[in-house]
């Protein structure tokens, strides 16, 4: 009773309560956004540490550091943690911080559910990580957990993995419902759909993808659980089931999932590029339509991950055509960004540097994606390091870089302090160089025939692996510099102005820096 009263009083004074309970019981979109972002950063470091183990073992041929089973646990958990722990929560954190401020709403539409959808995450993450300490080890079947390797042959801890995935899925679905409810109901007067900032648009579409895709994943792991313990044979050929069914179900979730991790990135880049080009975003409405087309296409291309499973040729043709078609709306996005810069008045502050790196490197990842979409050529690329190179270009140099760009763009608004721009530029150049040393050689490795997910390799792959490992260690280290810059900025620094940048567009720049605990208690009027 007394805490409830204290809570209410705190609200009356428009300030956060002090101590741990502020974070545990918070329903404030900014607090929850901060929690999401810190959770994501913690997971980035943990998943990154696992990547360091992987790169250390692959530094030279022969087995030196870990045994193959532990290596498989590292690749599996690295993938799961980066996808579900680092990238997705970071975007939800950004959505929490920014969407209400961008549309002129006082908070998210469902603030208590917002609290819950965050607080599920640390438990899910801990559950997933705890499997590493169980007898028989953690999940070792890859983040794609193909049956029957994950069912009949999975370690005991697989059940904990299944439960963790259920929790992560619930968190995502609740987050998505909240975002949709907020965007559709809480926009300030005059903020029509076609006036919304692109970050809001891309998140609206992403939220629908989440609601459609996550239950499919939940279905897949539930069927796994039934196969493991309740005598069903959904995926067990010996019982009349079908291991390929698992892949269809998984990728029906999995392909939209990759767009869940990239559409908000498109939104972020579409916010940053106009600001530092001092020019309006080129082709706003075509950006919205392109995002919607990508989202639609993402549901009819899933089997391009399965070109080698022995599908009928008509199916392979359909999925090839649909897949390469995605490069059309994706190309439109890149062309629009370039046209926005064209004849602008460009400056190269830190967020713009990251955004430019995103456009260059994401486009490279898109090119290898087009190559992978061509079915006969995929016969050679599939499950090699060429694929590893491709998805790290789009997910690290793409999604992660966009998140870092967003942090550098909005951090002064969040903290009220401008960060140390020299250090931030060092962070940028260090990351952008090392990320290419890390991932570019992987194209060569894959083309020369190195399969992915192997703990040891033939000696002709030694040089490029060594190079990739060196790039990997450097890239890992550069994110510690990021952590230092963040902490330094939160603790102090040059006072940021309300606009922060010369001519940014959007309602978030009309409030004070740092943004007050409650913003837009009375909705602004949008012209």
């Amino acid at each position: 009773m007394s805490t409830a009263t204290a809570h209410d009083t705190a609200h009356d004074h428009h300030g956060p309560p002090a101590g741990l309970s502020r974070w545990l019981f918070t329903t404030n979109h900014k607090d929850i956004g901060t929690l999401y972002l810190w959770f994501s950063f913690t997971m980035l470091l943990i998943g990154g540490a696992m990547a360091m183990v992987i790169r250390a073992e692959l530094f030279q041929p022969g087995m030196q550091i870990v045994d193959p089973n532990f290596f498989n646990q590292m690749t599996t958990l690295h993938g799961l943690i980066m996808v579900f722990g680092a990238i997705m929560p970071a975007f939800v954190g950004l959505a929490n911080w920014l969407i209400p401020m961008m549309i002129g709403a006082p908070d998210m539409a469902l603030p208590r559910m917002n609290n819950w959808s965050f607080w599920i995450l640390p438990f899910a993450g801990t559950l997933l990580l705890s499997t590493l300490f169980m007898e028989g080890g953690g999940p070792n079947f890859g983040w794609t957990f193909y049956a029957p390797l994950s069912t009949t042959y999975g370690p005991e801890s697989t059940d904990f993995f299944i439960f963790a995935v259920h929790l992560l899925g619930m968190s995502s679905i609740m987050g998505a419902i909240n975002i949709i409810a907020t965007i559709l109901n809480m926009r300030a007067p005059g903020m029509t759909l076609m006036k919304m900032p692109l970050f809001v648009w891309t998140w609206l579409i992403t939220a629908f993808l989440l609601i459609a895709a996550m239950p499919v994943l939940a279905g897949a792991v539930t069927m796994m659980l039934a196969d493991r313990h309740f005598g069903t044979s959904f995926f067990n050929a010996a019982g009349g089931g079908d291991p390929i069914l698992f892949q269809h179900v998984f990728w029906f979730f999995g392909h939209p999932e990759v767009y869940i991790m990239i559409l908000p990135a498109f939104g972020i880049i579409s916010q940053i590029v106009p600001t530092f080009s001092r020019k309006k975003l080129f082709g706003y409405s075509s950006m919205v339509y392109a995002t919607a087309s990508i989202a639609f296409l993402s549901f009819i291309v899933w089997a391009h991950h399965m070109y080698t499973v022995g599908m009928p040729v008509a199916g392979e043709l359909f999925f090839m055509y649909a897949t390469i078609l995605i490069s059309v709306p994706t190309g439109v996005k890149v062309f629009n960004w370039v046209a926005t810069m064209w004849r602008g008045a460009l400056t190269f502050e830190v967020p713009m540097l990251w955004a430019l790196a995103f456009i260059f490197l994401f486009t490279l990842g898109g090119f290898s994606g087009l190559m992978l979409g061509v079915t006969p050529a995929d016969t050679q690329y599939h499950d090699t390091y060429f694929v590893v190179a491709h998805f790290h270009y789009v997910l690290v140099a793409g999604a992660l870089f966009s998140i870092i760009a967003a942090v550098y763009y909005w951090l002064p608004k969040w903290t009220g302090h401008m960060y140390d721009q020299t250090l931030a530029k060092i962070h940028f150049w260090w990351s952008v160089i090392s990320v290419n040393i890390l991932f570019f050689p992987m194209h060569f490795l894959g083309l020369a025939g190195m399969p992915r997910r192997i703990p040891d390799y033939a000696i002709q792959f030694a040089e490029f692996n060594q190079l990739a490992s060196i790039g990997g260690f450097a890239f890992g280290l550069s994110q510690l510099l990021f952590l230092y810059i963040l902490i330094k900025t939160i603790r102090g620094g040059e006072k940021a102005t309300d606009k922060v940048w010369e001519k940014p567009e959007g309602l978030e720049w009309t409030v004070a820096s740092p943004a007050p605990y409650h913003t837009f208690a009375t909705p602004p009027q949008v012209k």
């Binding site: 975003l281 090839m320 083309l447």
Partner: protein
């Protein structure tokens, strides 16, 4: 490491010791690009790969040039005033249609190659390829092969060198991780059809030079094919994560002209006969133990470990196990029929009577088990 050894070779060559040829072959192995391979399909795939590569390179150069031009010339520091334009339906339509046309241009050859790749009809030779954790099994299905079948494991030298902390000079190991004990032998200039399946989890049979990658899936028989133009040795690996030793189940294809292929078939038949004859006699404990250790190391050590201690929580130990120390009949039953719902396979169909007798004897006497039991090939025969 490589740079060092290359420098050494160059030095030797300069000293007139003539190692240039060897250094050259080291470079030849070293590749940046996809192989053109040795089959019509692998060549078509390579051409397709290069075509798409050049198309995306051209697009990349175009887009990036515009961007870089903008970055250099449209800077605020140069005093430019930003333009006002921010939409153009014509331009949007144009850069939707042009990529679409390029895609159609890619789709035609891709469709043609895909249809050829999927046409496994009218094969001259048919071979069943079965993936096992962690080895391949080949079965020649044609009449003249008389049911010839064998397993293909990572060869012993690589297997020893790849152990954690083995710390060997890997450049001295013959084709480290890409060598097997029994390669699959194929005739050249014949259409060879593969029926690919799996005994346990999903594997994938990939030989880059053949342009063949086909998933091996339990419960399914996938087919694919190849047509080798040149005799030679072609190496590949399993490309679908299949558990602990996924990285250690390579593929070696030996392509031989038809007459040599026929000779090889005949020789394999003779070997099989001889082994069957030998299995008929009574084996000494010593002979069983020697053979048993070999069989154990190729078929059992992957899970139960070379020291018989297993991996706690994953694979049970043989040392001091209830089965290895219990009744012989139960032990034979477990090895031959496996244990459903676990990774323990049914080895009855995989190993010969002599191999089974030897490996069971070995398990009952090695690792401090010391039961003194000798299981004979005839015991296995009667248990079948």
């Amino acid at each position: 490491m490589r740079n060092l050894s290359v420098n050494k070779h160059l030095l030797l060559a300069l000293l007139g010791l003539g190692n240039v040829v060897y250094a050259g072959s080291v470079f030849a192995e070293y590749k940046y690009n996809m192989t053109q391979g040795v089959t019509p399909i692998s060549g078509e795939i390579y051409d397709l790969h290069m075509m798409v590569f050049w198309i995306v390179t051209a697009i990349g150069i175009g887009v990036f040039s515009v961007m870089i031009y903008s970055i250099i010339n449209h800077r605020k520091s140069k005093g430019v005033k930003p333009a006002e334009f921010h939409e153009s339906t014509e331009v949007e339509v144009l850069w939707t249609i042009i990529p679409f046309v390029i895609l159609i241009f890619i789709a035609f050859p891709a469709t043609k190659t895909l249809l050829a790749l999927e046409d496994s009809s009218d094969a001259d030779v048919t071979i069943k390829v079965t993936g096992y954790q962690w080895k391949w099994h080949y079965e020649y299905l044609d009449d003249d092969a008389k049911g010839l079948s064998f397993f293909s494991n990572l060869d012993a030298e690589s297997n020893e060198a790849r152990q954690l902390g083995a710390n060997q000079d890997l450049s001295q190991v013959d084709h480290y991780l890409l060598n097997v004990d029994n390669p699959i032998v194929l005739p050249t200039n014949k259409k060879v059809r593969f029926l690919v399946t799996s005994n346990d989890v999903i594997h994938s049979w990939w030989v880059p030079a053949l342009g063949v990658k086909q998933d091996a899936i339990p419960g399914y028989i996938n087919d694919t094919w190849t047509y080798l133009k040149k005799p030679g040795v072609y190496r590949g690996q399993c490309t679908e994560l299949c558990g602990k030793d996924h990285g250690f189940m390579p593929i070696v294809v030996l392509a031989k002209p038809e007459n040599e292929y026929k000779e090889w078939l005949a020789q394999k038949q003779a070997e099989k006969k001889a082994a069957e004859e030998e299995a008929k006699g009574v084996w000494s404990l010593e002979k069983l133990m020697t053979k048993g250790e070999q069989v154990y190391n190729t078929s059992c050590a992957g899970c139960h470990q070379a020291n018989g201690k297993g991996l706690p929580g994953m694979f049970p130990a043989i040392a001091g196990s209830k089965i290895a120390l219990g009744p012989i009949a139960d032990h034979i039953n477990t090895v031959m029929n496996g244990k459903s719902g676990t990774a323990m396979q049914a080895f009855g169909a995989q190993l010969s009577d002599a191999d089974l007798a030897a490996v069971i004897t070995y398990e009952r006497n090695a690792f401090g088990n010391n039961t003194g039991d000798a299981v004979q090939p005839s015991d296995i025969k009667s248990a079948r």
